[in-house]
Symmetry: C2
DNA sequence: AAAAAATGCAACCAATGGGTTGCGTCATTC
DNA sequence: GAATGACGCAACCCATTGGTTGCATTTTTT
């Protein structure tokens, strides 16, 4: 991948929904629970928050569409697990942004010094 | 700061609006523009997107409240600049999450091996 | 086979978000 | 000093979001 393509509009459209999924306190809480508390069911998860089970289900679906969690039926219950891959994408995106910023600063510095 | 406090609910409430501000393609685009294109005015910025100037103003205010951009009046125009500090916060938050995940994996591994 | 547990599904509701248009204000420039 | 340019403010609109309640469905469990 070329440096110039690092922050293309295509990547913006990819990164935005990912950050949007992270942009809710309850969903971040769910991620932390699944992260450190291991795979869990909806009913157990909803016990840790003061919203209904159905609300938690919706949040988990949002996280799922963003690729941050995964679920699997197991008998009568559905087990949700954290999915670290997309987190790395978000991480890389922030990295590229701050790198772009550093490059700009260097350009400015070079310009001032000449 | 203790490790146990690294992902406290207080931090969730702090991180959520930050990610929410990043969770929109137009706003990410604005950040990229301000990042690599240097400080700009609203009208110049809105020329780069196919939404109205007023819409861009709203987006910039969201970014501003999240601490991702800063503005200063200069004569009849207002100059917007990128603010890298809060980006570092977001970065650190993701870092803590994935570290929490690694710790959990290690715990699991230790448990399986005994 | 009946009760209980875990989830799915749908309707509904209030608030927020992203967008618009219209107009007023203030600094510049001619 | 009058036109222009950049911006602020407010009202309004529609779609989305986060939440609820109620009830149906599917596995367990007893």
């Amino acid at each position: 991948m070329s440096r110039a393509e690092a922050l293309s509009p295509a990547r913006l459209k990819d990164a935005a929904p990912l950050f949007a999924a992270l942009g809710d306190a309850t969903r971040l809480g769910l991620l932390v629970s699944l992260c450190s508390g291991g795979p869990l069911t909806v009913t157990r998860l909803s016990g840790q928050f003061d919203v209904s089970r159905q609300a938690i289900t919706k949040h988990l679906e949002v996280l799922s569409e963003a690729g941050l969690v995964k679920s699997a039926r197991h008998g009568r219950e559905r087990i949700w697990t954290f999915e670290p891959k997309r987190l790395e994408d978000a991480h890389q995106y922030l990295e590229r942004l701050s790198r772009e910023w550093d490059v700009a600063l260097d350009r400015l510095k070079a310009f001032v010094e000449t």
